[in-house]
Every structure is written in structure tokens, then in C-alpha cells.
């Protein structure tokens, strides 16, 4: 007995300073896996490394895809338990506030050092983190939409595989040239398949920062919808109807589609499996390239004790340090969250080897945050339903966007006066 106590005492002295300064010894967090790959093992090894360094045990709970993780987190917290912090979509900030379960970083406590740390992130990644003058989340697994294109297909359509179009009209024409048909006129290769909204590419924001207003029926938003539809009915470069998101990757890899829009998080997967040379490019815009950044941030929850909140924030700082962010980016394909991470030798070396990994970063200056409002899931559904109706030719673009605006405004009405 005496011996064991003696051992414990030595361990406590040997543990680094951080560990002794805090009383929270065990933390739980939920995280999603959005694009597959060995993400769970990478997260577990991060936690193990943190425990070794700080003595704090961080239990990472894999909770499904983004929406499942969101549902599980809210359900667990409402049931009186739940994680201390979680990786959830950056765009969910306002609706998590609706649930009244978040604690802001400012409330946990930010000293000068911590403020400096926050200012080290790419500003685009914090675009979905501010509300009411406070910061509510920390960038973690961030991605952006990019185009993956089949260089072999470009070559046999007589196009320059090193030059990707940067404007909508050029993109439409390029995609039309990439379509291949067999002797009976049946399409064997589609030019392009798109996945998400393009409004920001027309330099139109979709919502205000307070998350209480949407701008779906603005002329530029309607123009974006019109362009999306024109890929099928004007350029005949994309199939009619809705293409499902999980199907895009297989479509591209099997050569069925020459250009797809997908997340940077898919880079490792495409690099492993594409049997042809491929390129990546930033999204084209109406006049010039623009993109949105998506992905997950770390959120901290109110029900945790002050000690646990502090401990969670410490973990967030540790995990977003340049070396860790670089390692995370290399292993997963997510964009490292700070410029400092791109100065680390590890990431520099990796980019020299895999230049595609750098493309997304160069688009960060023209990036904005995703659509993020109160009742986010509901507003997304309204928008998605109407986009689908438009792609299925049951509604004209202006009608679809006007309906989306009316319905979303109805959903957001209670928040306007709050």
C-alpha cells in the first residue's frame, strides 16, 4: 500500500505543469466522420498523445456523420449527460444557440495569450464563429469545395489539362466539350456534376451575420440557380435531375463524369483510387473564382463545470497548434487551420510532394462562410427542397428561390425580434 502511494506521488511530480494546474482529469467529446478513411484511429492517437503530455484522459466518441453527431449531441445533453465538447458543423452555430447549450470562448475565459491564438487562424475559418460579439467555436476539421477533374478526359476532348476554367460561361462550355456519347447517342461520359449552392460565386451572401435573414431571392442567387440548371438544359453537360452526393465520387473515379465538385476532405481518397491523372481546381465564379468553407468546429457546452470547460479549451489549443494542425491536414486532407501550420517543415515537405494539397489553401482569401442561420437544419431543408424541385424542372429558378425565401423567412420570423 505504502509502495503504491509512493509511486502515485512520483507520478504526480513527474507529470507536466499543466496537469497539476487543473482538476478535470477526464473529458469526453463527440466527433463525426464525414468522408470515410481511417479518421477514428487518427483521432484516437491524438487523444493518446495528449494524455501522455498532460495526464488528462480525452475520450473521443465516434458519432456518425455530421447530422447524426449533431442529433446525438443534442439528445444526450437534453437527457442530462452528453459530451463536454464536440466537433460539429461550423454552420450550426446559430441553431446550437437556439438550443441554449453552448458556452462561448469568452465566457470560459480568454487571456491575452488565448486571444493571440485565436487571431492565428485563417479569418475565413472563423466566419461562422462570431455572434453577439463573442466567439463560439474553434476551427478544427475544415474543408472547402473544389473541382476534381479528369486530365485524360480533358486531353481527349482537345482541352488543355493544365488550364481549368475560372468563369461560369467558360466552365459551361468546357463541360459541354467533355461529354462523350456512343453511336446510339447515349451519353457515356458526363461533363460535370455539381453538388452545392453557387450563390457566393456570384458574390452574393446568403445570410446576415446574426443569422436572422436569408437572401435567397436576390437576383444574383437566382442567377446562380439558373446557371446550375443550365448545365443540364443549355450546355447538356450534366444529367437532368438531382445527383446524389455520395454518388459523385464513384461517378468521377469510374470515368462516368469528367468534373465533379467535392470537398477537399476527399483528396486522399481520390489520390488513392483514381486510375487516371487528375487535377484539382478552385471553384469557378460568375466572373472570378469564389468558394465557401465548410467542415467542423469545436464547440464547448454549458453543462460542463468551469474546470471541465477550461480543460476542453486547453485541449482545443493543443490540438490546433501548428504541428498538430499540419499532421492532421497531411493525414486527412483537411485544410490546416492556420497560416503557421503551413510554415511547419512537415507540411512544406508534403506540399512539395503533393501540390494538389495546396490548391484549396490558395482559395481561402476568396472564401466565405457557409449558410448559417437560426433553425439551420430547417432552412437548409427549405433551400434543398427548392433546389431539387428546380433541378427536376418542376419549378423555374426564380419561382424556386422565391418560395425558398418566403418559407425560410417564415421559419426565421421569431428570431427577428429577439
Amino acid at each position: 500500500m505504502i509502495r503504491r502511494r509512493h509511486l502515485l506521488a512520483t507520478a504526480a511530480i513527474a507529470a507536466p505543469f499543466v496537469a497539476r494546474a487543473q482538476s478535470a482529469r477526464k473529458l469526453t467529446f463527440y466527433f463525426p466522420v464525414a468522408v470515410g478513411g481511417p479518421l477514428t484511429t487518427i483521432v484516437d492517437s491524438l487523444c493518446a498523445a495528449y494524455q501522455k503530455e498532460s495526464g488528462v484522459e480525452v475520450e473521443a466518441v465516434y458519432a456518425g456523420d455530421y447530422s447524426q453527431t449533431l442529433i446525438k449531441t443534442i439528445t444526450a445533453i437534453k437527457g442530462g449527460g452528453g459530451p463536454h465538447f464536440a466537433v460539429l458543423l461550423a454552420a450550426e452555430m446559430h441553431s446550437l444557440q437556439d438550443q441554449d447549450i453552448l458556452v462561448s470562448l469568452d465566457e470560459i475565459g480568454l487571456d491575452a495569450d488565448a486571444k493571440k491564438w485565436l487571431s492565428g487562424f485563417y479569418p475565413a475559418f472563423l466566419a461562422n464563429s462570431h455572434a453577439d460579439g463573442k466567439t463560439w467555436s474553434v476551427p478544427f476539421q475544415r474543408s472547402t469545395a473544389i473541382f476534381y477533374y479528369n486530365k485524360a478526359a480533358f486531353k481527349d476532348a482537345g482541352l488543355d489539362p493544365d488550364k481549368f476554367p475560372t468563369t461560369w460561361s467558360a466552365l459551361g462550355e468546357t463541360a459541354a466539350k467533355l461529354v462523350q456519347k456512343d453511336s446510339s447517342g447515349k451519353v457515356t461520359r458526363w461533363g460535370i456534376k455539381m453538388a452545392s449552392d453557387l450563390a457566393n460565386q456570384a458574390e452574393q451572401k446568403l445570410m446576415n451575420e446574426a443569422g436572422t435573414e436569408v437572401y435567397f431571392n436576390q437576383p444574383k442567387t437566382i442567377e446562380a440557380m439558373t446557371f446550375w440548371r443550365s448545365l443540364a438544359d443549355k450546355y447538356h453537360a450534366a444529367p437532368d435531375g438531382v445527383s446524389s452526393w455520395p454518388q459523385l465520387s464513384p461517378d468521377f473515379l469510374s470515368g462516368n463524369t469528367a468534373i465533379i465538385q467535392h470537398t477537399t476532405g476527399n483528396l486522399a481518397n481520390v489520390r488513392d483510387k483514381a486510375p487516371f491523372p487528375f487535377g484539382v481546381a478552385g471553384l469557378a465564379g460568375k466572373n472570378s473564382p469564389h468558394t465557401v468553407v465548410g467542415g467542423g468546429n469545436l464547440y464547448f457546452f454549458k453543462h460542463a463545470t468551469p474546470d471541465e470547460r477550461q480543460a476542453a479549451l486547453r485541449f482545443a489549443r493543443w490540438v490546433s497548434a501548428p504541428e498538430r494542425a499540419a499532421e492532421w491536414s497531411i493525414k486527412t486532407g483537411y485544410i490546416a487551420t492556420s497560416p503557421a501550420a503551413y510554415d511547419t517543415p512537415a507540411l512544406k515537405e508534403f506540399i512539395a510532394k503533393v501540390p494538389e494539397a495546396n490548391v484549396a489553401r490558395t482559395f481561402l482569401p476568396v472564401a466565405t462562410g457557409e449558410l448559417s442561420v437560426h433553425e439551420n437544419q430547417r432552412v437548409y431543408k427549405v433551400l434543398t427542397d427548392n433546389i431539387q424541385a428546380c433541378l427536376n424542372n418542376t419549378k423555374m429558378p426564380d419561382q424556386a428561390m422565391a418560395d425558398a425565401e418566403t418559407e425560410a423567412s417564415r421559419v426565421l420570423k421569431p428570431f427577428k425580434h429577439a
Partner: protein, 289 residues
């Protein structure tokens, strides 16, 4: 109270406790919740009377879900029952490879719905999925089965029928196996045709089984939505949104608990009404031996 009565109630007690705790009490609680608005930010939910119900009348997605579910039920229930009966008749006779056929018909039932949905996703994939390839040999073009509003719901119906028919077949097969052979001999002596025998003897004797299968089919038409979650998430533009999926979305994606409770009451009412119709009206016309 008589001793026997007390004994009877004591024996029923465990089942009653379970039913009350997990079925009746939640149903009553849901009914009560449907008269309250969704609580926001820790404040208690205000009483709103029948507002949730009147709001539902204006909810176009609700009406579409109801319509979709009606179409879905009207197609899956008769189709899976008729198919089940045909399959049972086919494997009831003495034909070579019978066990193998029975197994093949039953296989879809043994797979979890999630797995079935993933397999069928591949079947429905445009251009290079199974269906488009097969149709391609006959000069067919591209079909975006799940992405087109007009084919998405029929595609869901096909999956459900495929999954369910094998299960119902087992009940029909069991009933056919226990059917006394002297009936057939007697009918043969009377010079009755096979069709007449089937129609006048087999079908009536199968009625108890049919009622049982029908009850199950109706419940499943409202209860099983796993394939919707995996394959379409109710899309495109709510073309495949069934009532239960809409409840899930409203309750756990939008956290609109008031509306979700109201929708649940509507679903309970529909199921209650159909159960009453089945047992009260049809049940009386079924001949039990």
C-alpha cells in the same frame, strides 16, 4: 373478487406493466404534448390548444407526406401479399430444388433493411447501376431512379415489396403445409377444377393467415423507413417523405417537439383506425377453424 380473477390479474400484471410503461403512457404523453408549443431555451412550453393541429393543416410537406404514405401503402400492401402467396404456392409443390428456392425467396427477409437499401442504391445508380445496364442492352437510356421526383417513390415501393414478400411467404407456406390433403382428394372426386379448388377452398382456408399478414403489412407501410433514410432522405423535394420520416425530421433534426408530437398523434390515429377496420370489420368475416 373471486380467487380465480385475482390470479388471472396477477398473471396479466407483468404484461400490463410493460404495455402501460412503454406503449400506453408514452401515447398519452404524446397526446398531451401535442397541445403545447415547442419549448425554447429552457423556458417551459406554453399551452396552445389545437394550434399545432391547425398549423398542420397549412403544412404542405405534411400533406405531401400523407399523400406519399397513402400511395406507398396502397402499392406495397397488395403487391407484397399477392407476391407472397404466389411464391408460397410455387414452392409448396414437390419440385426439384425446392429448398433452394424457398431459401432464395426468404433471403431478403434475413438481410437488415440498411444492407438492403445499400444494395439497391447500387441497382438504382444512374448509367452504370444494375437496372440501367440491363435496360441499356435493350436500348434503354439513363434513368435517375432516385433523383427524379416521378420515379423516386416507386423505387422505394419496389424495395419494400422485395424485402417484405419473402417474410409473408413463410406464413402462407406454413398454412399451406398444414392444409389437410383429404380436402383435395374430395374435391378431385367431385370433379372440381384446380382453379375452382384454389378459389373456393384454398383462399378461404388461408384467410386467417391473410388477416395476420395484412395487419403486419399495414403496420410496416407506416413503420419501416430505414430505406428512406439511407437512400433518399425524403428527397427529391419531399417526393419520398413518408409520415414517420417527417416525424423523425421534425423531432430530431429541427427539434420542433410540439409539431412532432402532433404528427405522432396523427400517425397513431391512422394506425388505430386501420386496426379497428381490420379486426372489427374484416376479422368478423374470417373463418377460423
Amino acid at each position: 373478487m373471486r380467487r380465480e380473477t385475482i390470479h388471472a390479474y396477477l398473471l396479466l400484471l407483468p404484461a400490463v406493466i410493460l404495455l402501460v410503461a412503454f406503449t400506453h403512457w408514452p401515447a398519452i404523453e404524446t397526446l398531451i404534448d401535442s397541445f403545447y408549443a415547442t419549448p425554447h431555451g429552457g423556458k417551459p412550453a406554453p399551452f396552445v390548444g389545437i394550434d399545432n393541429y391547425t398549423d398542420l393543416l397549412d403544412d404542405t410537406v405534411f400533406w405531401q407526406a400523407l399523400h406519399n404514405n397513402a400511395v406507398y401503402a396502397a402499392a406495397t400492401i397488395p403487391a407484397s401479399i399477392v407476391l407472397a402467396l404466389l411464391m408460397a404456392l410455387a414452392v409448396n409443390g414437390a419440385l426439384p430444388g425446392r429448398t433452394f428456392l424457398r431459401l432464395a425467396y426468404f433471403l431478403p427477409t434475413m438481410l437488415p433493411m440498411i444492407a438492403v437499401a445499400n444494395i439497391w442504391m447500387f441497382f438504382y445508380t444512374p448509367d452504370y447501376g444494375l437496372f440501367d445496364r440491363v435496360l441499356g442492352w435493350f436500348g434503354g437510356g439513363r434513368h435517375n431512379w432516385l433523383g427524379d421526383s416521378s420515379t423516386a417513390l416507386p423505387a422505394m415501393i419496389a424495395v419494400a415489396v422485395w424485402k417484405e414478400a419473402g417474410f409473408f411467404m413463410i406464413f402462407y407456406l406454413a398454412a399451406l403445409q398444414t392444409m389437410p390433403t383429404d380436402l383435395r382428394e374430395a374435391a378431385a372426386l367431385e370433379g372440381s377444377s384446380r382453379w375452382n379448388y384454389f378459389w373456393r377452398v384454398t383462399i378461404p382456408l388461408l384467410m386467417p393467415t391473410t388477416l395476420f399478414v395484412l395487419v403486419n403489412a399495414v403496420i410496416n407501410a407506416f413503420r419501416v423507413i430505414d430505406h428512406i433514410v439511407v437512400m433518399t432522405r425524403g428527397g427529391p423535394d419531399n417526393a419520398t417523405t413518408l409520415l414517420l420520416y417527417y416525424i423523425y425530421e421534425t423531432g430530431f433534426r429541427f427539434w420542433d417537439t410540439g409539431t412532432a408530437a402532433t404528427l405522432t398523434v396523427v400517425l397513431l390515429a391512422i394506425l388505430g383506425l386501420t386496426a379497428w377496420l381490420q379486426f372489427g370489420v374484416l376479422g368478423r368475416r374470417v373463418h377460423y377453424r
